[in-house]
Each structure stands twice: as C-alpha cells, then as structure tokens.
C-alpha cells in the first residue's frame, strides 16, 4: 500500500498568486472609473487594448517556450501588467504606442528574464519608459485635457476610437495638452502660483482634476493594504519622502511645484500603491522596503523638479529596481535568537 509522501506542511492557506493579482486589478477600478469620467473613453479603450496585448504576447511567448499557457495566464500577472500600463499611458495615445509598450514589457521585460518572478525590473515601467523615450511627443502632449475641467463635451466613443486607431491628427489636438505637472513646471518660471492655477489645465481646479484620480488610486491602495496584499512600507515611505522633499525644497509655490500638486497629481498614488509595490522587482526586507520607497520618492521629486520629463515615477522605480538586491543584502532583519542582524555580502560574494 503506497501512500502519498509529501513534505510538510500538508495544509495551505488560501493565498494564491492569481487571487492576489485579481485583487490588485480590482483595486485599480476606482482610479479607472475616475480617469474615464475625466478623460473620456480613451482610458478605457487603451486599458482594454493593453490588457489584450499583454495576454496575447504572454500566451505567444509561453507557447514558444513550451510552457503550459493557460496555467500561466491564469496567474493574472500579465493582466495586471497590461492594466497598469493602460492606466499609465496617455488616454489618447495612438494604439501602436500602447501595443508596442505592452508587448515590449511582457516579452522583453518579463518573459526574456524567465517569466513571472524572475524579472529584475518592473515590466510595466520598462514598457512605459521605452515609449516615453522613443516617442516623447506623443507621450507628453497626448495627455487628454480633462473634459470636466475644460467644460468641453466628452468626446464620443467612436471619435475616441478613431483618435486612437486612426490617429486623426486634427481631432486629437482639441482634446490634448500638457498635464498639470508639466504645465506648472513650465509656467512657474514666468508666473506666480496664482496665475498658473488660472491656466486652462487647471481652470480653477486644485490639480486640474488629477486630484480625483490620485484620491481614487489612494482608495484602491488602502484597500490593498487592508487586504494585506501589500505592506505599508513602500507606499508610505515613498509618499513621505516625496512630501518632505517638496515641503523642504519646494516650500515656495511661486518658484517650485507645491506639495499638493506633487502628492495629488501625475502618477503619484498609482506609483506608490500599485507600481512601486510590485513585489518581484522591489526590495523584500522590511527596512529595505522603506529605503526602497523613500528612494523612489526622492527620485520622483528630483526628476520632476530638475529633469526633462514631466513625470518621473517610471524612471524612479526603474532606478530603484537596480538597487533592490543590494538593499536587500544590507537590510536583513535580525533573526530570532541573534543579537545582531547578519548583513551585507559575505566575503567572496560578488
């Protein structure tokens, strides 16, 4: 009578990767809804396009690698990558940018490294950074102007479709412009803070509508925290670092972007709760996570303030991805029964 002999434990919790990823996807829904409300159907269309591209490219690569396709697709990681990328890209970005970014992030940033769990960089951000560098014009000027802020009529679904897929040149211009972060940075040199806020992008709104986007993502992030999908370390340290930097260095709203704009504009909340917390490419020790998050916050501020790009979450995350293994090596927690944590690299390690 041969019985099954497996190593203990013989029981499992209910955590599953697919479930975690599904929860993450669920937590983005408020943000997605707000963005759709503000920017029209473009967000929805691009997100759907990114998800489909992500799943497709993942399936193709898995097939080529002779991996079980459905088994891996069901872990929902490609879905989340596509979703996050769709949320990060400009709502009216031409379809090929979305497809290119997503396919690149899945194929090159994820599968080429060995698939799930093995990618050293956040795949979505790799794709985003690639198109940001390659197509700066489309990426920085194709940001839809909030219909709610500008008071324009929401572009119809078919119009949006043609703007995205046919790249109708004239039509999109009416709906696009620089983001509030971009605008503020460029105008504050010549104008006072009050004048800047009168600009069309803001039109009296605190952050030109972006405050609602960020609050929605903050809500989603809190949901993830509550569900213990993520820990507080990275988002909190990142937000605190960003806030401290902007308060200390940018206290003068007439010279620098104010803290409110930093915290509640651009991809701040999306980055803090959904992108920087990508476990695969982030630091894993508790202390390490705090350092990692703070690093992202500081980098975001530096690049936003003195860099050429209007937003900086992608670059900051990617830069900190580089440092994650190093941070981990030096932030091992003190284990039970040890007086001091063993830290650093063992001599002989490279």
């Amino acid at each position: 009578m041969a019985l099954l002999t497996l190593s203990s434990p013989h029981t499992r919790g209910t955590n599953r990767t697919s479930r975690i990823m599904a929860t993450v996807a669920l937590a983005t829904l408020p943000g997605l809804a707000v963005m759709t409300w503000l920017f029209g159907y473009g967000t929805l269309i691009n997100t759907a396009l990114a998800i489909v591209t992500a799943l497709l490219s993942e399936a193709i690569v898995l097939k080529m690698r002779r991996y079980p396709v459905s088994f891996f697709l069901k872990d929902n990681t490609a879905l989340v990558t596509g979703l996050l990328l769709g949320l990060a890209l400009p709502p009216l970005a031409p379809w090929w940018i979305t497809v290119f970014a997503t396919a690149f992030s899945i194929v090159f940033a994820k599968q080429i490294y060995g698939g799930i769990g093995n990618n050293p960089f956040n795949p979505a951000m790799v794709g985003y950074a690639l198109v940001l560098i390659s197509f700066p014009v489309q990426m920085t000027t194709n940001w839809a102007i909030s219909f709610q802020v500008s008071g324009q009529d929401v572009a119809s679904f078919s119009d949006t479709l043609s703007m995205i897929f046919a790249s109708a040149p004239g039509m999109a211009d009416a709906y696009t412009g620089a983001t509030p972060l971009d605008q503020y940075k460029h105008l504050i040199g010549q104008q006072t803070s009050e004048q800047v806020l009168q600009a069309s992008t803001f039109n009296g709104w605190l952050n030109g509508g972006w405050e609602w986007v960020n609050l929605a993502f903050l809500a989603g992030g809190l949901f993830l925290l509550a569900r213990k999908i993520i820990t507080w370390h990275i988002p909190i340290s990142m937000l605190v670092a960003l806030a401290v930097c902007s308060l200390v260095l940018g206290w003068d709203a007439d010279a620098y972007t104010p803290v409110t704009l930093h915290m509640l504009s651009g991809a701040t909340m999306l980055g803090a709760f959904f992108i920087a917390t990508d476990p695969v490419s982030a630091s894993t020790t508790p202390t390490g996570k705090i350092i990692y998050g703070a690093g992202i916050g500081i980098l975001v501020y530096l690049i936003r303030t003195w860099g050429a790009y209007p937003d900086a979450v992608a670059f900051a995350v990617l830069l900190m991805n580089f440092t994650a293994p190093f941070i981990d090596a030096y932030t091992q927690p003190r284990s039970y029964g040890h007086k001091k944590a063993k830290r650093g690299l063992k001599s002989g390690d490279q």
Partner: protein
C-alpha cells in the same frame, strides 16, 4: 629650474611619505597568511587515493601550488575544481579523465571477511590506517575512517574487498529537493509539464 626642483622634491617627499605609509600598513595590518599549500590542501577531499598521480592529497596540493593542473582529483570532482579555481584565480577545467571519473556516490571498502586470508597487504595499502587486522587474522575496515579511495582493492590477493556505496540511515538521510513545480523550470524544456489545477 626651481620649479623642476620643487617638483622633484615634492615627488620625492610624497614617495617617501607613501612608502612609509605602505610600509607601516604592511607591518601593522600584516595578515598571517595561510600558506597556499595548506589552503589548497584544505579544499582537496583528503581521500589520499593517489589518483592524481601523487602519493597523497598534500603532495598534490604542493604540486598545484607549484603550478600543476587543478583537474586531477576525481574524488573531489567538479566542485573541488571549482573551489580550487576560485582560490587560485584560474579558469576551472573539466576533470581530467585520465585520472578517473568522479563517483556519484560515496563508497566505502568492505572486506568479505570469510574470504580474507589475513595477508595484511590491504593494511599496508590503506593511506589512512582504516583497516584493522594482523597477519593471518581476518581484517576489517573501519567504515567511519574509510575514505573510499579503493587503494586496498588492488593489492588483495583473493579479491575479497568490495567498494560499496555508503549506506543511508536516519542520521544522514535528508529530503530531496522538490522536483515538481513550474518554478523549477530554469530554461525552456521539451516536455510540457502537466496542467495545474489552479
């Protein structure tokens, strides 16, 4: 002229200062280095089997320190070669087949005692004195001391020594690494793993 002089003087002073510093450091932070032979010897498996062509591990360690190849130790196998390569900062080479192949399981010599004629030849051959017995008395191997070098097999006139794999018991058994699971796929492979039930 004076600039050149100044330059020379400055350089000389600098040289003297740094030289003194270096000299001081070399005395102050002098590390009692483990001689390379001992370090090499520590990496060798100490079976004293002589398969490398030297009469023991120490002589081979000395030879390595004198520039002999590091791939002559079959009992140590690839891991020893790797360790030696790391220590000496040379490229690891594949095991030299001339000296024998790496055994996949540790062996131990066992004397079939009813056949032993007590010739003491194996006792003389054993490099670690792991065989007990006296002339015309039955001999036996102290399994714990045996390094599995099989040097005793050849001299035995009645071929009563077997090299058997070391037995596994509760004290040295341990779990195999898990083999099932997608996460083990390091590179692309031919066979498609069974679909999971996730």
């Amino acid at each position: 002229m004076s600039t050149i002089l100044i330059a020379i003087i400055v350089l000389a002073v600098l040289a003297a200062v740094f030289g003194a510093l270096l000299g001081f450091a070399s005395v102050k932070f002098h590390v009692e280095g483990n001689p390379i032979v001992d370090q090499v010897n520590d990496l060798l498996p100490q079976t004293q089997c002589g398969q490398c062509g030297y009469p023991g591990c120490k002589p081979y360690a000395e030879a390595i320190a004198d520039g002999d190849k590091i791939n002559k130790c079959p009992p140590g196998g690839e891991s020893t070669i790797q360790a030696l390569a790391d220590l000496l900062g040379v490229e690891p080479e594949p095991l030299d087949a001339e000296h024998g192949a790496e055994k996949d399981v540790p062996l131990v010599a066992v004397i079939r005692e009813d056949e032993c004629i007590g010739c003491t030849k194996c006792i003389q051959a054993c490099p670690v004195d792991a065989i007990l017995g006296s002339a015309k008395q039955m001999h036996t191997v102290i399994a714990d001391e045996c390094t599995g070098c099989d040097l005793c097999v050849e001299p035995c006139p009645v071929d009563c020594i077997d090299m058997v794999p070391v037995t596994t018991d509760k004290s040295n058994w341990y779990w195999q690494a898990p083999t099932s699971g997608v996460e083990l796929i390091a590179t692309d492979r031919r066979s498609v793993p069974a679909e999971g039930h996730a």
